[in-house]
Symmetry: C2
Subunit: 491 residues, 2 copies
């Protein structure tokens, strides 16, 4: 495999596409907009899933599974939702094929037309609230705290591996509550869970905030979001949590008998993250040599490569490496010893660098004599010679260091790319020449938001949750504003 | 929740359906043939998944993910496969909906018709071999040992929760090899993994065997199967592993450069188990009181129920229970303390019995005084009084006992239901009055197999792997036979 990647500075987008393919993460299938997630990419996704699933369960959620196909009419029940989701969707119209008259191919059997078309779920609020209607009668049935791991489909016109694909994998939590307060608390709790996951596992700093009305989920009363910043200065929405009010309960007529004996509509939330997080992870840390992975999500945390000429040397090295491997495994560190002789050490060095393995050990005959091993870290590309005796403790600490360092580096970059703008000229200048988030005053209307988007392609990413009050004027309308909000160009 | 289930002896099928719904495992959705897997059912499936996934990884497999939608033409490439799978399938024909002229609903947008229809995967051989063509050039790229956890769809006319649904969840392994021998070995290895899982985790005895040509997977050269026996005397195919020969490599033109420098077609296997295993698990062990779960797959292994009148009693009990819970958790036993006061103890006893929790502890003021606790086991419905002091060790042993006992009970039943038949009269008599597997001679032709099926609905479940040679004559044709094969009515 040739390693040469396009440099980020040359063509960021090309760099990303090449990296995803060359590092063995994903590739385009023969089918428009749909990707194949390759084993190495899927292994990272599995680590994400496992951690998120643990966090969901620790906060009291259970998993369940709902149908892939949703009748068309379900979408029409919630007015905003239908516009947001039902239009660009994959539609199942028939349930049978038949052999063509020439006997060589197959064709749709016109007699097997469905009475009502079925939509491949773009998101599952409708089918789930249709189900919750059966599950909820009394306050005793509440709360329902359910999550689903599933594939979903949105017929996107322009697709990019992980970032925007017609089919993607995600989780969608759907909860039902007796009170508004409880539902709001749940929606906020889950955006905090996402923030915690992004920062402490992906090593990706995020800004937690709330969306403007325009950017809200179709059918939500409030959408909370975590927004990350990529190395090209563009923001990436990485997870959202929605307070849905009683909208879906009303659309699907889901009421419960309260403790007080009254019939009330149920309050709802939904929240999700997807394989888009893979794109965020890749773009936050990687460099011109390839992928850089935070140790907590790396399928292989340490790779060991033997350097030898003669088979006897290899045997001696392998005996020593076995000891190291056992010590590392005892500490819960995942390690791969690559002593295959299909490829030379130099090729392997490049390969594992490309794949973002956080720590690489190299060990040759000289090292054996000296009782040492060469330790290279992927994030800084620095090397050092370490005594074999305590190498396990050294690596344990090193992995923590790398995790921290990656977060710090990304946080420094992000912090240096939140810039205040007080005029539209300044705003455009920052957007064009520096990128990142721009903190600017906004009059709170969809009109100016739309105008800014039209003129610059920048959107309001969020109103940060801990936003300080500050009097000011909107850049465009000149109307008064009570706080700055964060704008950026976004994925 | 009313607990009364229909008795198995009254109506086995009705008993099953009621049990699945009342125990909170699954229910029918509003959409034909598609089920909702409820949290408790999904928790069992997750335990199955986790164990199987571990076993797949221990045998060198990695997970990946391939597209949900497969172009129609892919199916036509393998002649037998297209007949077996492409006909009763969900067909996506359009990718957009639009608002109806009256503005009230949505309808398919005729201008958004796909050039080629897409099929929701009924199984993924075609899309995966289309992908492997890109992955495989040389012997260095082999073997490929990949598994996918996914949803699939087959448009079944008669559906039953878990046993036969239009959409179901499964895993499908797809491997590629340089030699026939290696591929055959892989297919055999995986049927052994399935057998190991069924017997040691599901506590479900299975017969490993090979399918007759008629019952083979569409596109396979050999299909290995594990066959279990349900309490109504019907067999249930629980997992299959296929040696696919070079059929898919030829259909998708996948060749590799061998070590010797020749271009060869790749050898293949595929293997899968699905949520159908949930049906097998339920029907193997459960009784007229509800679900019975083997401890190794029970989401809750132990439930503790306090018996009290006054709140002070409850507090004292809870303090003691906390100790027990901690000791059980320290042994890795999953335990639930249900001190909710929404329901009375009697209601809870019934509920957890219905849900198949293997061990129930009940503890009241008298127990506290005596330092004892009542321990009830779900499989035998027997109770005993046990000293609290060593209750954790006692329960640990008890869980192993229950696991073993369930297996033994099922194995005894199964062994008592393998009956030899030497004439067709005898065959029909056993089938009608006793059920189970019938070991009978067969001349090896699809014709007699078909005839027996027509006349009795019984099919050849498998030719056991360890089948002894035995000279005999076919019951129908009178032609010579070299071995008995296993017939049964099947799910």
């Amino acid at each position: 495999m040739s390693k040469k990647l396009t440099k980020r500075s040359e063509d960021y987008s090309k760099w990303y596409n090449e990296l995803v393919v060359k590092a063995g993460l994903a590739e385009n299938s023969g089918i428009r907009g749909m990707m194949v997630i390759k084993p190495y990419g899927y292994a990272i996704w599995e680590k994400m899933q496992a951690q998120l699933d643990k966090m969901f369960k620790e906060t009291g959620h259970q998993n369940a599974y709902f149908p892939l196909l949703i009748p068309k009419s379900y979408f029409s029940k919630e007015a905003k939702h239908v516009d947001g989701f039902a239009k660009e969707a994959a539609v199942v119209t028939h349930y049978r094929l038949r052999t063509t008259p020439d006997g060589k191919g197959i064709e749709v059997d016109p007699s097997a037309k469905l009475e009502e078309e079925l939509i491949i779920r773009p998101t599952s609020e409708t089918i789930i609230w249709d189900t919750y209607k059966r599950w909820i009668q009394s306050y005793r049935d509440l709360p329902i705290l359910v999550n689903q791991w599933a594939n979903v489909m949105r017929w996107e016109m322009r697709t990019r591996l992980f970032l925007r694909t017609a089919e993607f994998l995600w989780q969608e939590g759907h909860t039902a509550h007796a009170t508004r307060e409880e539902a709001v608390k749940e929606a906020q709790q889950m955006i905090n869970v996402y923030g915690d996951f992004a920062e402490n596992f992906m090593a990706m700093p995020v800004i937690k905030g709330v969306k403007s009305e325009t950017e809200r989920f179709a059918g939500a009363e409030d959408t909370y979001t975590i927004e990350a910043l990529m190395q090209d200065g563009k923001a990436l929405q990485s997870g959202t949590s929605h307070f849905l009010g009683q909208n879906f309960a009303k659309a699907f007529d889901v009421k419960f008998l309260s403790k007080e004996g009254t019939l009330e509509y149920v309050w709802a939330t939904s929240w999700g993250v997807s394989t888009r997080l893979m794109g965020a992870l890749i773009m936050t840390h990687s460099d011109d040599n390839g992928l850089v992975l935070p140790p907590k999500l790396a399928p292989i945390q340490v790779v060991i490569i033997p350097i030898y000429r003669k088979d006897k040397q290899r045997q001696e090295i392998s005996a020593k490496v076995d000891e190291i491997v056992n010590k590392l495994k005892a500490r819960g560190i995942s390690v791969k010893y690559d002593d295959s002789d299909n490829y030379k050490p130099g090729w392997k060095f490049n390969e594992y660098e490309l794949k973002g393995v956080p720590v690489r050990l190299a060990i040759g005959p000289r090292d054996l004599e000296n009782g040492t091993v060469e330790v290279a870290r992927r994030d800084t590309l620095s090397k050092e010679i370490v005594a074999i005796e305590n190498v396990d403790e050294h690596i344990d600490n090193l992995l923590s260091d790398i995790q921290e360092n990656l977060y710090k580096k990304a946080a420094d970059y992000r912090d240096a790319h939140i810039t205040k703008a007080d005029s539209f000229e300044e705003f455009k200048d920052i957007l064009e020449n520096k990128g990142g988030f721009i903190a600017a005053h906004w009059d709170g209307t969809p009109e100016t938001e739309e105008k800014i988007k039209e003129l610059t392609k920048a959107t309001i990413r969020c109103i940060p949750l801990d936003n300080p009050a500050e009097e000011g004027v909107d850049m465009i309308s000149g109307k008064p504003s009570k706080q700055r909000v964060l704008f950026a160009k976004a994925y």
